[in-house]
């Protein structure tokens, strides 16, 4: 993507001072500042936003993390923590006057306890690597964000990542037991414990999804679950998305919590099918993938009921996977939705609102109207079970004005999500991307509470400042701009 790049001039004197302070205890090769060394860190998965960091540092152990934070705190240098850099909201966007703290080298699985069904891991461990390590024991780590081959567990904690199975198995917050967290002062605190709860406030929940604003996670104890004996998936095709939405409600009303329940609309199906050949009917207005897992008996029983409900709900085609190969084929289309859409267009922009499911048809109609308004196409994939919608807006960043139109389109989708009683982000986080939409979702009083909590953890505002929670001033500015015009004036000015 050739999006505008934010640049602020490097303060070389400050850079030298920070590097010298860090190199007092860090090996030379773990403190980077040369332009070509730090440029690879200029963005995360949301490449529309870029900023070259002043300094990058790559600690190899917890003690170094603490020392780095302590040094940065003393020098009042802002710190942005980064895992694998796969985040989609710019949460790991560096600061031109700050230190980028990469946790990538803390990549050891420290311990797996098969009897207690837990794994103790460092933050840089990849999500999928945990399940791979636990597989010989018949166990796995349940949250499976689509980026699971690359994303790190530390990043998952920071974003409270979900995945296609979270209606039944929960998000990151439901699947972790304990954290070791380095505070901005460089002190380690332990949150949670070996049991299912801990004394005091539920700081485990507060830390999860806090987008690196409260502390730096240095170790995570995750829960492992027994691998289900069996899993099968039903593919059902519908003539309109409202009927498909009703079918989802009917499955839930029948007392079934599917292991996964995904919807794709026709533009998404048409993007995927020629690319993956998953066997999706291209004439359908929408398809549902509904998975059941558990014991053989449970799955046999549930699949039969799901098939009946799909048919009774008006599906014109119902097919069930007969073996693991077919199950994976059905899923391959859904999992390839983003890259498949990426083939249709030079760029795409992925949104992440969550809505009450019953408002789906209305929201999709609204999005269709916005396609005309902004003259941009949009494909929709939907974690239908839990109401998490991923509209993918197709655009070309090289065409002047398209990125701006795309962002305005995205912001309007998020506003619609709030209007129907939903939220601006289900699993990707606020980061820098949705910071202005936070001004619509929350009133000043709630934002002030967020700032007060941030202050309780990080008095000087050094941890990932400017992300996740907008200042009241920024919201006031945004409100004014919102009233007067579309595009921001002076986009090159930082707005704190």
């Amino acid at each position: 993507m050739n999006a505008p790049v934010q640049t602020i001039p490097v303060d070389y004197e400050r850079q030298r001072a920070v590097c010298a302070a860090l190199r007092a205890f860090m090996p030379e090769h773990s403190v980077l500042f040369e332009r070509e060394d730090v440029t690879p860190y200029e963005c995360d998965g949301l490449s529309a936003y870029r900023q070259v960091p002043m300094v990058v540092t790559l600690p190899e152990n917890e003690q170094q993390v603490c020392e780095i934070l302590e040094a940065c705190c003393l020098m009042r240098v802002p710190v942005v923590a980064r895992g694998a850099g796969t985040g989609l909201s710019g949460g790991a966007l560096p600061m031109g006057n700050g230190v980028l703290l990469s946790l990538a080298r803390l990549m050891n699985i420290l311990d797996i306890d098969p009897a207690a069904r837990t794994a103790r891991v460092q933050p840089g461990v990849r999500n999928l690597a945990i399940s791979e390590a636990a597989a010989p024991l018949g166990l796995y780590y349940a949250p499976d964000p689509s980026s699971q081959i690359a994303c790190s567990i530390g990043g998952n904690v920071a974003e409270n990542s979900g995945g296609v199975h979270c209606l039944k198995y929960g998000l990151t917050v439901h699947n972790i037991l304990k954290l070791r967290v380095a505070t901005i002062e460089g002190e380690i605190i332990e949150i949670g414990g070996g049991g299912l709860d801990a004394a005091g406030y539920d700081l485990l929940a507060l830390m999860t999804g806090s987008e690196g604003l409260l502390g730096v996670v240095t170790e995570i104890t995750v829960k492992l679950l027994p691998r289900p004996e069996s899993a099968r998936v039903v593919l059902a095709a519908f003539d309109d998305v409202a009927t498909a939405g009703q079918a989802v409600a009917n499955v839930i009303a029948a007392g079934i919590i599917p292991a996964g329940m995904e919807m794709m609309d026709q533009p998404a199906i048409l993007a995927v099918e020629p690319f993956v050949h998953a066997g999706y009917p291209t004439d359908a207005a929408g398809i549902l993938l509904c998975e059941s897992d558990g014991t053989h008996e449970e799955v046999a029983d549930e699949i039969r009921r799901i098939e009946d409900i799909m048919t009774a709900s008006g599906a014109h085609l119902v097919r069930t996977s007969h073996d693991e190969a077919e199950r994976l084929k059905f899923w391959a289309g859904r999992k390839a939705a983003f890259p498949a859409v990426g083939r249709l267009s030079p760029d795409y922009y992925c949104m992440d609102g969550t809505i009450p499911r019953k408002r789906l048809a209305e929201v999709l109609r609204g999005i269709a109207a916005m396609e005309k308004k902004y003259a941009l196409r949009c494909a929709n994939v939907f974690h239908a079970g839990d109401g998490n919608l991923h509209p993918l807006i197709l655009y070309d960043a090289n065409d002047p004005g398209q990125l701006e139109r795309t962002e305005a389109f995205g912001a309007e989708i998020l506003k619609l999500c709030i209007d129907v009683g939903g939220t601006i982000t289900g699993e990707h986080g606020v980061g820098v991307e949705k910071i202005d939409s936070m001004c619509i979702q929350f009133r000043s009083a709630e934002l002030e509470t967020f700032h007060a909590l941030k202050h309780a953890f990080d008095e000087h505002g050094l941890l990932n400042p400017g992300k996740a929670v907008p200042t009241l001033h920024r919201c006031a500015e945004f409100g004014r701009m919102h009233v007067h015009a579309g595009a921001e004036k002076f986009p090159e000015l930082p707005r704190f």
Binding site: I189, G255, T449, A452
Partner: protein, 353 residues
């Protein structure tokens, strides 16, 4: 009426904050025994009650804090649903607000999640009397810090809960409880073994040398699992689990202090004198003991857990496990952020909060 009540609560809080006079938030009073002795002028919130919205097919219920749990559960049962964390009612009269504020969950907790896992959103008044809403009515929501879950289990020290949205779950079509004689160590090993295999277990308990396991789900699955696990079927199972949940089982009676130890589920012991009742696949041990608080807490610490003096506490030992200094400092700053005058349920959790 509802708005007038909120206004009244807010004014009470503001006046108390100005005068620095502590308030004691009270719902149904079913958990008066829990935590350190309540102190301060009473703020009765049970009049703020009623189910606001219930959408069974969205798996969400929103109700006012004063709503009796029994009323919520009855409405859900009508729609074939339940609260997945099986909250205790204790002596009866428990309200939704108290349930969330105390953060206590019942027998299903180890298998379906705790109350905090089901909380989707809250409306609350902070210590300044400000009306705030966090989270929402949807399953997935990562906008802003997770204040709803922070509030869960904070014993009213961070805010007065007004409304709560919870995720609901379908009632299982079939349920069966099996029982067999087992010494405690073997029972704990069995519980952990079951949790590591795909079996539809929804509760476990070991008491008086007997191991109980509840299976729930599709009838065929429950039957198949029962064949694998073995043991005799318990007839009055619903009553048995209700008595464990509400601590009406004879184990909890008497004059001896009752301790709640939350530990690594595979932990042996703990090596403390007194009878024990094991729940949650080994992760929860109830202990009836006159032993010294420090001794019990050290034993819990050794198993990477914590010990709560749950019932019939002495005056000298705090109800909750003392926190390490750095963590306590952080707690104080969080309290300060939400309740700067320090008036809400002061001392109920820790004397400094």
């Amino acid at each position: 009426m509802a708005d007038a009540l909120i206004q009244q609560f807010a004014e009470t809080i503001r006046a108390a904050a100005d005068a620095k006079r502590p308030l004691c938030i009270r719902g149904g009073g079913s958990k008066d025994f829990y935590g350190n002795t309540p102190a301060g002028d009473p703020l009765a919130v049970s009049a703020y009650r009623g189910i606001i919205a219930y959408e069974p097919t969205e798996l969400v219920i929103t109700a006012r804090a004063g709503t009796p749990l029994a009323e919520i559960e009855a409405a859900m049962r009508e729609q074939g649903q339940m609260l997945g964390f099986e909250p205790p009612h204790f002596s009866g009269g428990a309200t939704l607000g108290g349930c969330v504020a105390a953060g206590l969950s019942g027998p299903r907790r180890a298998y379906a999640g705790a109350v905090r896992d089901f909380v989707l959103g809250v409306r609350m008044l902070d210590g300044r009397g400000t009306d705030l809403s966090f989270g929402g009515q949807v399953m997935k929501n990562v906008a802003g810090y997770d204040v709803s879950r922070l509030l869960t289990g904070s014993l009213g020290t961070l805010g007065v809960i007004l409304e709560v949205s919870l995720k609901t779950l379908p009632l299982p079509p079939a349920e069966l409880t099996l029982c067999c004689e087992q010494p405690r160590t073997e029972a704990i090993a069995l519980m952990n073994g079951w949790a590591g295999t795909p079996l539809p277990v929804t509760a476990t308990c070991h008491v008086e040398k007997r191991l109980y396991v509840r299976l729930a789900g599709a009838e065929s699955a429950v039957k198949a699992a029962a064949r694998k696990i073995g043991g005799e079927e318990v007839n009055n199972a619903a009553e048995f689990w209700r008595n464990i949940r509400d601590q009406r089982d004879v184990f909890f009676s008497g004059d001896t202090p009752v301790w709640r130890l939350s530990l690594t589920p595979t932990a042996p012991g703990p090596d403390v004198p007194g009878p024990q009742l094991v729940e949650w696949g080994g992760a929860l041990r109830w202990l009836k003991s006159d032993a010294d608080a420090t001794h019990i807490r050290n034993a819990a610490r050794k198993a990477d857990g914590h010990a709560t003096l749950f019932r019939r506490g002495h005056s000298h030992a705090g109800a909750f496990h003392p926190l390490p200094e750095a963590l306590m400092q952080l707690h104080k700053r969080v309290k300060q952020a939400m309740d700067p005058a320090g008036i809400l349920n002061r001392g109920r959790m820790y004397s400094d909060l």
